[in-house]
Amino acid sequence: MDILFSTEEHRFREQCRDWLHANVPAERRPMDAAEAIEFDKAWQRRLFDAGWAGINWPVEYGGRGLSIVQQVIWLEEYARAHAPWIGANFVGINHGGPTLILNASEAQKEYHLPRILRGEAIWCQGFSEPGAGSDLAGIRTRARIEGDELVVSGTKIWTSFAHVADWQELVVRTEEGSQRHKGLSWVICSMHAPGIEVRPIRKMSGQVEFAQVFYDDVRVPLANVVGGLGNGWKVAMSTLSFERGTGFIADQVKQSQEIEELLERARATGAIRDDRIADQLAQLRAEVAALRAMTYRNISEVVRTGQPGPEASVIRLFTSELGQRLERMTLLLAGEAILDFRYGEDDLVADYLRGFAATIAGGTAQIQRDIIAERLLGLPKSR
């Protein structure tokens, strides 16, 4: 075991740092939703042109084909340089893309992966439904086969970036009368197809970042099925295990920065003289360190065995709850100034309110605990 990086990795880190130092935009991500999307796309394009998009994606689809350790180094430097949040490219880069790499046909990969990396195609995720949240296998949105097309009808909900997305990773029931995990398919659905209606939903933070999507006989080419008809559950789980494994490294790196900023603020305001605050900050700093150690250990596991270890779900849970503890500390240090918060402001209060997503989206903290107890500790399945 060791925590030292190789000479080559050190050199790579310097390259990351130099480029980011010269290229991170000085202006903030715009508040206006339409402007924000343009900002996200332009920044992604700039990353791609300079060779910083898809660091561990295959070279043949526009990636760099580098190691996962180099990907981690990039993300560490990215956060350190205060580079922009990935924004609307989140689903494509962290979800759709990795799923396609693992499961898609040559043609599907050739078409979609470079467009995701270049920031030309925004993706959204169509998994959850009003009746299928934690119980994802209860999906009812169905697709019947007509010739070489699927005809989709139903509804999806909590779909981030639905109003701006070009494509959706959509899980639908393609086998009539099938139950639970069987008879589902993972398809690439154009968000510009006729019959799609997007109804934005406002969050308690005031932001409109997700939506309910309705499908009224939406036609999707059968060629857009990924991983074969009826294999949707398996394909969807490959995305989720990716998400639990390495998809949250960027968040984790950001948290290590947040604790240092909190500490600086507490010192500047004198809040640190309060023993309770000092104790909490000390605890948070230890937890953030542990999160990095857990991530490094998980990455080492990936390097060694090709996949994240079973403790990946522990990291996912730990990250999400630690993020919320950091947001609460931010709020505590801000004091009663938070009472002046208004809808439309994108500040620490908005971060706090929107941070609830961390223990709800992509598997609630309770579902994560079930998984940990069942898979790591061997307790009986209760579902």
């Binding site: 990086f5 060694r304 079930d370 307790l379």
Partner: protein, 301 residues
Amino acid sequence: MDLTPSTEQDMLVAATADWCRENMPLEQARARPPHLWGELEAMGWTGMTAPGMDLDHASEALVFAELGRHLAPVALLATAVAARWSPHAGPAALALLDNHVPGGSLRVLDPHGAVQALGVLGHLAAVTPLPADLGGEPGLDLSVPIVHLDPAPPFEALPDPRAALHLQLLAAAYALGCADAARDMAAGYAQVREQFDRPIGWFQALKHICADMAVRCAAARSQLYYAACAVDADTPDAAFHIAAARQLADQAAIDNGRANVQVHGGIGMTDEAYPHLCLKRAHLLSFVAPARRQTLLGEAA
């Protein structure tokens, strides 16, 4: 960068665990037989990183986590540190110098057969020779005899600050092992104990208690690995990483110790059952070179 144990380290851990199960089971931790210490010495665990041994702290921490899981004698902690840093040779008892009030009596843990006592005072470890046959009576942790020295003898500080870090690291490993033991005991019981015609581990209320125990262990274990590697690489932030490992391992040990009693229900409150052994050990370890807040906050002493 590689934070997974090597094949050799995995073998070392497996061999340690096998030996402990055979010769030092947790279930017999109430009182250890007098010949146990000689066997521990023979296994080489009293001086893994002593001069000339060439073992790294990462391997040592891995082994000590296994020893801690079986509630091994705490004198091993002091003895292993003394073997590397003390001018005196021989077994060392553990002196609780941290909270010692000058003029008051000093608690020394596990004094049987010890020729010296070692503890941490401020940022430095300190030692003192001990007279033979000090005696000592079991206290909260039934496996650890305690003797009160009144007045406390003068201690000689060891100038290298790494000695104190070494003790903190090994204590973190012991606490992690203790937390692991409580987690496994609770999960094992939740699989076999039945109520409402099914194993209690079927119920989310119990399942989530056990999941949280696993989370605490995973965080503490990863940080322990990182800290041990930081010591081996002699990085400037090693003291912080050890403090973080110590803090998280302590919390894991105490919180898991408590949760384990709860999962066991009525039997968990008894002397006859084993959960209290882990809980009591956790409380004892929390006084052995605990993490300092200034170190966790990255403030200079």
